[in-house]
């Protein structure tokens, strides 16, 4: 296996859920390289936030963009050279807040890029404010009385926007994470994996998730209605079982092959 590390010093907090994503992605890329991909054919794009540091830690082509603006960069790279595998790392504030319009349009275009969303449901790097997926009543530094908004269900939004691959992972469970990430990268079309990545410092949800997550089985990911139903099972707000795995997968023409 190729060593994909860089000289950069890792500055994530000990126990951060980002380590699981980093290790899973490195493993997947190495594996794909061994299968003949050629790592020069991979470009990683990130936004700004704790998640973004991941591109400093992987020795592969990368574009460390600005907050909320990873998606349009990734789209242009894919359009410029459709042979490349373009993988976007984004936070929940980044993808579902500041850059939401880009995410919706990328899904609408079904452009063949892969979104890995580090969804810790809190702003970590700015030290603890609510995000688009924080539960109602979340007490953060900007909402000491508790947020008065309900969260977005990003997967439901992406399904209605036209995404053709939707999955969910969690930072506990690296094997399942590797499997979903690889499947998302291999999918031809817009793919998004929402990863319940835990921020140990500002919103430690390890125990909460461990109690509620389960692997999707016997689910037909080609069936949009089934996918919608499973996606709605947990709305990122009230207590419910939390499914992990691939909810939706559909073959559709991609933007870059049509232009």
């Amino acid at each position: 296996m190729k060593d994909l590390s860089t000289q950069a010093r890792n500055t994530w907090c000990p126990g951060c859920g980002n380590f699981a994503i980093l290790n899973a992605v490195k493993a997947v890329l190495s594996q794909m390289d061994e299968e003949g991909l050629g790592l020069e054919n991979v470009v990683l794009v990130s936004g700004i936030g704790c998640h973004g540091k991941i591109v400093d830690y992987i020795n592969v082509n990368s574009f460390y963009s600005i907050h909320g603006r990873a998606v349009p960069v990734a789209e242009a790279i894919k359009i410029s050279n459709p042979k490349l595998k373009v993988i976007v790392f984004s936070g929940d504030g980044d993808a579902y807040g500041e850059g939401l319009e880009h995410l919706i349009f990328a899904a609408k275009r079904n452009i063949d890029i892969t979104m890995i969303v580090h969804n810790n449901r809190v702003y970590g790097l700015t030290t603890g404010q609510y995000t688009p997926t924080s539960p109602a009543g979340f007490k953060g530094r900007s909402t000491p009385g508790g947020t008065k908004e309900r969260p977005l269900n990003p997967l439901e939004l992406m399904l209605s926007s036209g995404a053709t691959f939707l999955g969910r992972g969690a930072s506990h469970g690296i094997d399942s994470l590797k499997k979903i990430i690889k499947e998302a990268i291999m999918h031809k079309g817009f793919s998004l994996v929402d990863i319940l990545q835990v921020c140990v410092t500002f919103y430690n949800m390890y125990e909460y998730y461990d109690k509620r997550v389960y692997e999707l089985t016997g689910h037909d990911a080609q069936d949009r209605d089934q996918a919608a139903k499973k996606i709605r099972e947990w709305d990122y707000n009230i207590d419910a079982p939390i499914a992990l795995g691939v909810f939706y997968k559909k073959d559709m023409p991609t933007f870059e092959e049509m232009i």
Partner: protein
Amino acid sequence: MRDYSILIGGAAGDGIDSAGLIIARILNRIGLYTYIYRDYPSLIRGGHTFSIIRASDKKIKAHKNKVDFILALNQDTVNLHRNKLKKDCLFIYDSDQVKLTQTATCGTGLSLANILKEEAAPAVMRNSCVIGAFCKATGIKWDILDEVFRKDISREIDLNLKVARKGFDSAEELIKIEPFQNKTLPILTGNEIIGMGLIKGGLKAYVAYPMTPVSGVLHFLAGAAEKFSLKVLHPESEIAVILMALGFSYMGEKVAVGTSGGGFCLMTEGLSLSGMAELPVVVVLGQRPGPSTGLPTYTSQTDLHFAINAGQGEFLRFTVAPGDAEEAYYWSATVLNLTSKYRAPGIILTDKTLSEGTYNFDVDSVDKITDYSAGQTFPPVKDKVIKVNSYEHDETGITTEDPKVAVQMQDKRLQKEKALGEELKNYKCVGVYGDKKASTILLCWGSNKGVCVEVGEKLGLRVVHPVVLSPFPVEQFKEAIKGAKKIIAVENNATGQLISLIKRYDFNVDEKILRYDGRPFAVEELEEAVKKLL
């Protein structure tokens, strides 16, 4: 000097634009050079829209307010513009639309509805009929009209010609437009010429969200995309526009974007990223009167300081403001080339006057354009990792907060401004026109070049026109104003933005003529204003 101005007016949707273009082609076909000024409101149907087509034996780049002939498709055209006629009654009007009861009963009325009915032609062909009448009224031979129509009109040519012939036969010769022997040249808008210049400079991708006055660049390049293997995209917002452009830039594709003030506000964080990540992108920035939505379909020069200071942080923003068709072509290609070389953003400042003004474009009179082929590498390269970063970063592209590296990298980026400034010494960054020895100077920038040069030549003044605004060509400017006793600045804004820019370099002006009602200076207006200051 042969110098004719024709005003054609009607409601939006009457085809005033295309009629103006055909009249310009007819006038160019008889050996005159032409320029079209278009005036239209921000709506799709109705309202009042007009074009002034000016034709001369000399190259002209500005309009005049006094006109020789009016073609009126609606009442507004007569009411609003009749007083512009040098000699009253020289107008053709649609007698079904225009009532002359309150004024003298003169002019030539044509019942266009009847003519169209006789030929079973649709209402949109009214302008063909009027053009026919115009040719007869100004002594232009039928053959010329026939030839231009056949070249220009692709749909229903026979019917258009029939309708035009009826108009031709219904009119009498009223004045004579004297032919000349200038060559026939393409008649193009500034926007189309900017698009052609970008292609000449090696453009591979153009990304834009529609916005007046530069949507024409997007439309032109979208139409040319297949022929020139361009990627032309119109994404969800100006933010997406510039970030997509930087994605293309990362892949080594020469890329440009187009917008106006409001859209450029959204682009500034991307522009700053261009500076930090050293990813070249060219912004075609069409100024219009602000603040905010302002007068969206009118002209201004209010964003000079916004452009040269846009985006957070200290980095080079190579900024030029071409003054006419040939400069628009030359600098669009050159900015694309030089920003590729220096790996920094560039801005082509235009405005409604230049972008939507229509010129006889002579590519042979454009200065030689120096190509620049990058020796850089872009993904994918085997065994090479290419990283770019919005954070301060080391030479491998990895984030750093090291104070020494931060200083080194900032110095490296700022060095570009010095190096580009040196290279620009070999380019004509400041134009000098008119009487080059005169001690009174008209100082202008951007689209005011045409009108200032015409007035300067007439009044025996020197005209100084800096095209490069950042990095400012201090030495060339000093040379251009050498021996000046009086400098009169002419600008389309309320505060004198070039005046404050040159003040930074210890240059001062004596007088200023500022216009900020959204309309460009007509030649006579500027002449009057300048005379008062001499």
